[in-house]
């Protein structure tokens, strides 16, 4: 098992992804159009309520929040739950057991390779387009930008280890689809992907603060917006790392238990 093995997996997944250039182009053209809803909705809300800030967010910050939320989506969203689920469901898992690779890192490498075009092309191009057509904040502070990128990479790992766990649950159910749905529901409710968590009513704020989902969307966006001091941002990066380590060990444990169940069924 060497780094080269995972590097090759990333390269193959990247090539596979680049075969869908039309999808890529359509995504690029339609995303700014979808963003119009954010612009009109929030401009109306701020004007109608005659406020300059809502829960500490100016209009420009709110619009930027949604723009960066799309960028985070381009970085983190993968179909690892289906990749893991299908490997288990259709018996390919036996092949992975025999191969000298770690199942988790092999899946993560494939997901990362699939995501690279989005990270390196889609995200910067969309940011540029949104800046051209909408009044969003472009953060040029190098310290915050570095912390934002580090935070995005941690978000990628957190998202993928979480959905990897959801995929592993296929060992105990006939389909991963339910777990995918469960994961999407949890992520949408608790991560800040749809709306800043500061806008949530009081009781929900308590719940989201306990759960690790906020580290996937909310935390990197807040770092980008410089809503945290440098020390607070570093602390967030550390918390993301801890959350990842905990989820990673849960994934390892589930994998070990699931693998025994898989062997006992004969694959």
């Amino acid at each position: 098992m060497s780094f080269n093995t995972y590097y090759e997996t990333v390269k193959i997944a990247l090539k596979d992804r680049m075969a869908y250039r039309l999808d890529f182009l359509v995504d690029m053209l339609i995303n700014p159009f979808v963003f119009l809803i954010v612009q009109f909705l929030w401009t109306t809300i701020y004007a109608f309520n005659a406020v300059s800030t809502i829960q500490g967010f100016t209009l420009q910050e709110t619009i930027t929040y949604f723009a960066i939320s799309q960028i985070v989506g381009f970085f983190v969203w993968t179909w690892i739950v289906g990749m893991v689920g299908e490997v288990i469901k259709f018996g390919d898992f036996a092949r992975y057991v025999l191969m000298p690779v770690d199942f988790f890192w092999s899946m993560i490498s494939e997901a990362f390779g699939n995501k690279l075009p989005s990270m390196l092309i889609k995200a910067p191009v969309l940011l540029l387009l949104l800046k051209l057509f909408f009044d969003i904040i472009i953060n040029t502070n190098p310290v915050y930008l570095i912390m934002f990128i580090m935070s995005l990479l941690m978000s990628f790992l957190l998202y993928n280890v979480f959905f990897f766990i959801m995929g592993l649950l296929t060992f105990w159910q006939e389909s991963y689809f339910l777990f995918e749905l469960l994961g999407v529901a949890a992520l949408n409710f608790f991560s800040g992907a749809l709306i800043p968590l500061d806008f949530y009513p009081g009781f929900m704020k308590t719940i989201v603060n306990i759960l690790p989902f906020k580290y996937i969307y909310y935390s990197p966006i807040m770092i980008y917006l410089e809503k945290f001091t440098i020390n607070e941002s570093l602390s967030i990066l550390f918390q993301q790392l801890i959350a990842f380590i905990i989820l990673y060990f849960i994934a390892k444990l589930l994998f070990r238990i699931g693998r025994k169940k898989f062997t006992s069924q004969g694959g």
Partner: protein, 259 residues
């Protein structure tokens, strides 16, 4: 086999296949309802955080409108699965469908019971909203509302048919489908009068999603819209006919995928 008995068979198949995995089915329905409620949760959070929300619409009125949208979408996707056609074209399965002695579009009337979650969500939304809104109740209004819901179903069909027809010319339309679905579900969750007139016209005459939720809900709530309510059926019927014409043009140009 007639079209009706074909549809009846599809409903029986849909029910029996789901009865095999009851636990998964009920969990799936529960999760669909949870996900469905996400949109009104976001609306609630906006109203809670701002105090006033959006002009001209209360939280409960928007909940009602999202309920109408969810209901129309639930009914449509429960019985009409034309969205799967691009996949069948890609795999070469459509070639077989074309040899069957039924209209091609009839073959895509199936019974997808999974959408029952959407209908439950819609009824829960109505249950929350209706006691808190002022519905313009009269026999005529109820009947015309039902008629507008049917027009909404037709609008869903027109949009879907228009998009999937591209699959006859380019092999992979996944991205177009996903993105247009994204546009539909995002724009239909807020009142259309938040957007400029040009966009309202675009969503009326080009991509008629204004009829899936906003128009029927506005009618029942007694709200003004940018054109007369009686014009809705005419616009949607014309767009549906154009979509059908476009679809059969695509079928005529289809030469198979070589699978």
């Amino acid at each position: 086999m007639s079209a009706l008995s074909y549809i009846k068979q599809q409903i029986i198949i849909g029910l029996t296949s789901r009865a095999e995995y009851r636990f998964s089915f009920f969990l799936f329905i529960f999760l669909s309802v949870v996900l469905g409620f996400l949109s009104i949760f976001v609306t609630y959070a906006v109203y809670d955080a701002t105090g006033g929300g959006v002009p001209g619409w209360s939280f409960y009125e928007i909940t009602f409108m999202i309920g109408v949208y969810t209901f129309i979408r639930g009914i449509y996707e429960m019985f009409f699965v034309i969205r799967y056609m691009p996949g069948e074209i890609r795999r070469g399965d459509l070639d077989m469908d074309l040899t069957k002695p039924l209209n091609l579009l009839t073959l895509y009337v199936r019974f997808d019971i999974d959408n029952i979650g959407r209908l439950i969500t819609a009824f829960l939304m109505f249950w929350i909203a209706v006691p808190n809104i002022n519905l313009q109740l009269s026999l005529f209004n109820i009947l015309y509302f039902i008629f507008l819901v049917i027009i909404g179903l037709l609008a869903m069909f027109a949009v879907d048919l228009f998009v999937i027809t591209f699959a006859f010319f380019v092999t992979n339309v996944n991205s177009i489908q996903n993105n247009l679905d994204n546009i539909r579900s995002r724009f239909c969750r807020w009142p259309m009068n938040l957007y400029p007139k040009s966009m309202q016209l675009f969503f009326t005459f080009v991509f008629p999603i204004i009829f899936i939720g906003f128009v029927p809900a506005s009618f029942f709530l007694g709200k003004e819209i940018i054109f007369a309510y009686w014009l809705s059926p005419i616009i949607v019927i014309i767009l549906t006919l154009l979509s059908i014409k476009w679809f059969y043009y695509g079928v005529a140009k289809y030469t198979g995928t070589g699978s």
